[in-house]
Amino acid sequence: MSGPSTYTPKSGFEKWIDQRLPLPRLMHDTMQTFPTPRNLNIWYTFGGILTFCLGVQILTGIVLAMHYVANAGLAFDSVEAIMRDVNYGWLIRYIHSNGASMFFLAVYIHMFRGLYYGSYKAPRELIWIIGVLIYLLMMATAFFGYVLPWGQMSFWGATVITNLFSAIPVIGSHIATWLWGDFAVGDATLNRFFSLHYLLPFIIAGVVGLHIWALHVPGNNNPLGIDVKSPQDTVPFHPYYTVKDAFYLCLFVVVFAAFVFYAPNFFGNPDNYQQANPLVTPPDIVPEWYLLPFYAMLRSIPNKLMGVIVMGGAIVTLFFLPWLDTSRVRSCRFRPLMKQFFWAFAVACVILGYCGAQSVDASVAGVPLLWVARLATLYYFLFFWILMPIIGLIETPKKLPASIAQSVLGDTAAAAAE
């Protein structure tokens, strides 16, 4: 993809293929010899882990679709049949439902990694933007999937989320009706959500291809945030990072399996084991954990339209990130001021998530959580739109190392390697 290809076909057959469809050349250049910074740490293994997650969701999802019935009268029972009657159905469904949580866990680590090491900065803006697009597609897919079991949380989650569109002036209620295919969430809604839930993962796979393609043009960023300057700064992707990625993937799968086998409903909501009832809203509607921060933002604004705008704005903001950060230094390792505000931002996101999980009128130690959520929402926007541009201008970064090799190997060894 980038730089001259180092592939040489060995056999006559490989030559024949190479002249017609150079797929082996592509694989060789991107997954074998691809020069990768030698200092990538554990946080850089999550790209591979995320690819694994997408594969697991697609595989288990295709199998589940063989047994699931997308009909408002039958969906709930068909999911119970998968749990009780289908051979290993319980396992496949628990992998799929916990897999969604694992997918988001990994994507949040991946995004915060990019944020900390400045991986969104030139020349990697498009990698970040495509990544945010994947994140949006993931949220849509997860939302559609959560509706399918047709439990109480499925139904009322779908009602609340689709009603967000009704906040749009004039045409809002028509959009909601168009999304439902009825005057309320019902059978028509369930069917189209199933169709889209099956489609979107393959769109995600395509966009992931663009994400990786864009990554292979400038190559990986690294924890130092400095450019690769010489071959000493890199190692070939295989075997160095194939082995490292595989090792951490194994650890990740251990955590994944722990949830699937020992706490399969840890992320779930017991209300969703009750069939959807359009006449009774559960006392506390809570989205899945990975959407809680945005839900807290929505609830903290006492106006319908503004709440929806703020929630949407929180995600739209991410698209502008590459131009909001004015610093010339990428990595927070060398940004003493930014580092502190970064961690405050991470804490604000966790606080928002906590507030989103509590009821609207809850308070902790006499402090109403509504106001805590409002402050955290304010900080979220302050961080991106005010603090980030200003800090980049006023901060004095620490001295950057001369090269990756010098930083990793020390001055003498780097010189000897020259």
Binding site: W156, T159, V160, T162, N163, L164, S166, T177, W178, L179, W180, G181, D182, F183, A184, G186, A188, R192, P278, L279, V280, T281, P282, P283, D284, I285, L298, R299, I301, P302, N303, K304, L305, G307, S359, V360, D361
Partner: protein, 163 residues
């Protein structure tokens, strides 16, 4: 021309998402009110939505009437049986003062509010904390509009037809 053709070709694929003929077939429901005592509320299903029919006590009617319409977040009646411009006075929310008929869908994000809760004795929506009074009017919280009143008519003194 090409754009017009493309739009014409796209329209069936967009419009198929709208409610089908079956969903559009307006349904009506008839409800016998005689078992509902003053101070009680029943919930019936109408067009997929819950319908609240509340037999209000004189005290509840009084408290709803006392409110100054100018102080309400939504000053309109939202009553399908009245003109769109009707004010949100209690008289314009009902046909007979003791019977309050409402679509039980919170105007915020569509949850079903719980009756006889909240600061105003009407409904409280547990999803995001919207509170309605004994006339079903929004008083506090994020919901923008009063609970909607469906088209309905009394067939007899104790029988109502909705839709």
């Amino acid at each position: 021309m090409a754009a017009v053709g493309a739009a014409a070709a796209a329209w069936p694929f967009i419009d198929q998402m709208n409610p089908s003929a079956a969903a559009l077939a307006l349904s009506t429901v008839e409800v016998d009110l005689s078992p509902v005592a003053a101070g009680q509320q029943i919930v019936v299903k109408w067009r997929g939505h819950p319908l609240f029919i509340r037999h209000r006590t004189p005290a509840e009617i009084d408290s709803a009437k006392k409110v100054d319409v100018a102080t309400l977040p939504d000053p309109l009646a939202r009553n399908a049986n009245k003109p769109d411009s009707a004010p949100a006075a209690d008289e314009d929310r009902v046909i007979k003062p003791e019977w309050l008929v409402l679509i039980g869908v919170c105007t915020h994000l569509g949850c079903t509010p719980t009756g006889f809760e909240g600061d105003y004795g009407g409904w409280l929506c547990h999803c995001h904390g919207s509170q309605y009074d004994t006339s079903g009017r929004i008083r506090k919280g994020p919901a923008p509009e009063n609970l909607a009143v469906p088209p309905y008519a009394f067939l007899t003194d104790t029988r109502v037809k909705v839709g």
